[in-house]
Subunit: 419 residues, 2 copies
């Protein structure tokens, strides 16, 4: 270890650090004369350095004790790097195809060394704004979600294993509190942090703050978010936490990881695809009306859920043979009828949770503190508001009516109807 106490790195101290850490310097073939370092942290929270040498490469991610995009005025524990590293490793074991390798973790320095996702990997959100189709996206993300969520739940593990891990991730409470505030609280009250396309959406934002039914629904989801230790969720699975090429899909940045409801991850992904969908009209240009692309997004939403459903049930069936988790013992769930019944109840509940959390994520991105580039990159505010409003309307509908959705195709119909 290079340093005995925390210190924020810059490009020159980073080189010193790398030289002192064998697992990193070996990645570069111990050749340092030609390495190139680039700071690329475009996220909200951390510093990220790409380190490339002639013999290898990696990424160094360092958490600082505040939120980068706001500054030292919003402190945030750097211990989040520890939980990110533990989650990356756990999810990586369960789904190595879609989680980058961790080469090195230094808790004192809140620093992770991990695989550099080389070009042409880009952030999925940027691909969606550019109108690029990713034919394997639904397949890959559904695999990631099914394997990580199933594999860290009581469908797979004993209560003993489960509770030990739950206890550990209770330590990531500061990040959970941030989500509680920005997703489940601020958008529903007057807050200095809220913003929206104004004056266009002034009434829409106000309507949300005055909608008692909506506020009762968000309370249930917030409580479920805090109380329900269903699985080790990524905790921030939007389209900015996924890097893609045509062949590869890699999930990054699980620093918000904790034991929470599975629907929070599934909803984050689906909700952000819905935001991408509604933003497309704002990106239409002559010769590219984005109509076909919108259809691809809808297919991806539908396929993601359907493939997730299939893979999740397959893992459940497979696990029965291997020795199951605590939740459904084969001595009790011992005939195909009861197995089908409990699986169908479980997945139906999960769809409802996912729609609810997805809706909450949509609302907060339109009237809360942190917005998405899908909409922000539409420079004409009238055009932007015209994209945002139907997204908001859909989200409100989903929050209130999610329990009536029997299948994902009903969601697709609802999206079509509202646009």
């Amino acid at each position: 270890m290079a340093f005995s106490e925390f210190r924020p790195l810059d490009e020159s101290s980073l080189i010193e650090y790398i030289k002192a850490v064998p697992s990193l310097s070996e990645k570069l073939g111990n050749k340092f004369h030609d390495i190139k370092i680039k700071e690329v942290g475009d996220g909200n929270l951390n510093f990220v350095y790409i380190v490339v040498g002639s013999s290898g490469s990696f990424v160094i991610k360092q958490a600082l004790p505040y939120i980068r995009c706001i500054g030292e005025s919003w402190p945030m524990t750097k211990e989040r790097a520890y939980f990110e590293a533990v989650a990356l490793r756990k999810h990586g074991q369960l789904c190595p195809n879609h989680v980058p390798d961790v080469y090195h973790f230094d808790r004192t320095m809140s620093l992770i060394g991990m695989r550099y996702l080389e070009p042409p990997h880009i952030i999925l959100r940027k691909g969606l704004i550019a109108g690029i189709e990713y034919p394997l996206l639904a397949d890959h993300v559904s695999e990631y979600m099914a394997k990580t969520l199933f594999g860290t739940s009581l469908l797979c593990n004993s209560t003993t294993v489960h509770k030990a891990s739950v206890a550990e991730f209770c330590g990531n409470v500061e990040l959970c509190r941030l989500t509680e505030q920005v997703v489940f609280s601020d958008p529903y009250k007057v807050s200095e942090y809220n913003r929206w396309t104004s004056p266009h959406l002034d009434h829409d934002a106000e309507a949300i703050r005055e909608d008692n039914i909506l506020k009762a629904e968000i309370a249930e989801l917030k409580t479920m978010f805090i109380e329900r230790t269903q699985a080790l969720v990524h905790g921030d699975l939007h389209t900015g936490s996924i890097m893609v090429t045509q062949e590869s899909t890699q999930v990054i940045d699980p620093e918000f990881a904790f034991y929470g409801p599975m629907g929070f991850d599934i909803g984050a992904f689906l909700g952000n695809l819905m935001l991408a969908f509604f933003s497309q009209d704002g990106h239409a240009v002559e010769g590219n009306d984005r109509k076909a692309y919108k259809e691809w997004i809808l297919r991806t939403i539908e396929e993601t859920w359907n493939l997730f459903h299939k893979k999740f049930v397959a893992l459940w069936e497979q696990k029965k043979e291997e020795g199951p988790g605590e939740a459904y013992l084969p001595g009790i769930y011992n005939n195909s009828e009861v197995v089908q019944l409990v699986q169908s109840k479980y997945l139906s509940q999960l769809l409802h949770d996912s729609l609810g959390f997805g809706a909450a994520k949509m609302i907060r991105r339109i009237v809360g503190v942190a917005h998405v580039e899908d909409f922000e990159s539409i420079s004409d505010p009238t055009k932007r508001a015209a994209c945002e409003r139907p997204a908001l309307e859909l989200a409100k509908l989903l929050l209130k009516e999610r329990r009536n959705f029997k299948s994902i195709s009903q969601l697709i119909s609802a999206i079509r109807q509202i646009q």
Copy 2:
């Protein structure tokens, strides 16, 4: 501290121990010549000594590393005493009127020194079997449940406080696993531990093991039991964990305490009152048909819920003034209509959970490993089975139909109808 490592005490080593512990010997006015020690552990798990001197008294409870009633063949961590002591102190702070004082705790020895609940305190279950009315019972138990459950929930606390305590009680996992097995698993499958009044209830026990709908319901409750960290529950709040006189009600033995669903405690109490109700015909004798007593039990069930509801909502209202918990921020829940809406949803959900868990506790006491004296003391098996069967029928109905119950009076009607 008297001993540097764990050692099971007997009456003579207990005296040595007391002499070495100031907080205990002071309770006896440091007079040891006239003290009387009586071992009274009639529970399933621990050794309990009553220590009475001329100047004072206390109880010493020591956990051994196995389940007392089964023996060393069923090991069980003695660390449960630690969780019992923490829960007694926490619940005692929140509701000092109904939780005995803890004078001393020794983690190494798994030993608690606490208030001796002097005669005429008896175990409530014995009072119910004897047909004794306790006019303050509903008032006292509802106060205990409202204060301890509200006070350890997100209605009262920040997420930071909540998750720290959740993490700690994840350590009591062995006791949770015991509950999972005996309440939520064994009764629904073939298990060497199950027993029932045979052959009378052979078909009834089999029907439970073959009821797919019932097994789907118990799966949901089991998962909620493990996953949902709603409040620090007692974890074993049956009528054997409550000591009573006409004026006093004291809740003891929270060694199963953990962060779980509130309905598990409420259901345990109500479910055991229902067992007491259905056992009464077995205790009827000439000149005392127990009819009036059954009515008192029904009134107590109804009042317990209604008083709990009232006190819980009052705590919620009061807490709003003082600075609320994380779940319902006043900036969002800012008009009386929305407050009423969320409170009514919360309590309605809680009633359903309570009925479900209550039903699960009834079933396990009739076809599972550990039975209740209410029925066991009916020596004629035909008579006993005739009491047990309607209790089982009601429990099955509640498990399946609990979501249709809008008020506690519906429960009372269902009980009357089935008996």
